[in-house]
Symmetry: C2
Subunit: 216 residues, 2 copies
Amino acid sequence: MTSNNNTLREKVAESLREAIVKGEIKPGTRLQEVEIAESYKTSRTPVREAFRQLETEGFLAIKPRRGAIVTEITARDIREFYEMKSVLEGFAARKAAENLTDAQIDRMEQLNLQLRECYDNSNLSSMISIHNQFHEIFVNAAGNEQLASLIRSLVNRFQRYRIALSHTDSILESVAQHERIIAAFRARDAEQAASLVSLNSQLGSKALMDNLKIAA
Amino acid sequence: MTSNNNTLREKVAESLREAIVKGEIKPGTRLQEVEIAESYKTSRTPVREAFRQLETEGFLAIKPRRGAIVTEITARDIREFYEMKSVLEGFAARKAAENLTDAQIDRMEQLNLQLRECYDNSNLSSMISIHNQFHEIFVNAAGNEQLASLIRSLVNRFQRYRIALSHTDSILESVAQHERIIAAFRARDAEQAASLVSLNSQLGSKALMDNLKIAA
DNA sequence: TAGATAATTCTTGTATACAAAAGACTACAA
DNA sequence: TTGTAGTCTTTTGTATACAAGAATTATCTA
């Protein structure tokens, strides 16, 4: 994550975000300003501002004079998220196919190998990071900065649920799909790349849904 | 716009947002907390929070200890915006084609007639509202609430530039395109609806770009 | 006069104090 | 016992006071 630790607000926001993503603070938990302020040894002011920021990032729901609650994410939210990711990344892939340099495609290949290794070594913390790096290469190559930043914020928002996927075999499937995506990029086949990337996102959705059913 | 005037923060945010959208506050203008606070007869606290909110909505850029500046939107931003709108609304249309009721399509037809009337009467303030209502019908019918809210926030963010389009003849073209979109929805032709909606968005982009060139 | 550096001012970041609203609790009556 | 009214507590919303960083100006030196 980006760490602009210049102000207390950002420190508090980053710390809370991390705790929510890691699951240390459970959905439904009510966060109170004084409580958080005391635990960070600050006043309520930076905490309030951090709350607002986390609200817009989708981690907290704030009701006027009622306080902040860590958002519960429903199966519907996840379906909607992957639907958007599928559409946006698919489009990004279509545009990227024209722009990607050979070096960038090589880099994707390298990352995909690393992803496979991480799976074999059960190194799940690296896995998410590498997975994201892989996707970011073609998303950034699409030449639409706002689109890239939008996708980044969506992915970040659902990170806490995607962590669950690191365990599953869906990773292996994903690695195989990535190989086909790389081949499509090498062939500069924009339509093929777009539809494969969309498919990859749908796999994520399916895997996460199955995982939730088991957990529930 | 939604008006939750419960807190001062929201009142200030809404008022500033409106002023920026209407062009009363020009891009590049630096907003200072005390100044705004005095003009609204409040303290800095609600103003600060309103600034943060407007930052996430894309109207202000805040630099640490440097203050808030009304965002300048570049030609690139506009291109990127319409590209995203095209993709997202196109997808929404594809999904909506399966869900739209006859009554909803009738409503779209009605709105499109009103849009034509407003153009004839040069009633430009209603024009934008009606145009948005038309689009919101199929966007909401796509069955993806997050997508709908994302599109809404994007459109809202670029509202201030789209105002310029109300004058132009591109409205007439848009009305004609809307008719074809309605026909596609009536025929439940999802692919046709999707591609027509994408096209409609691209028209908006082109019209706005031309308009900016003239203005510059 | 030009440049650098120190002092000052201006503005935001943070802390604390006060106001008001929502929720909890108590007491009383039916 | 239960429902309701009214008070009390808790927590957020707002105002103000204080701290610190950035920008600007003034001063000094080469």
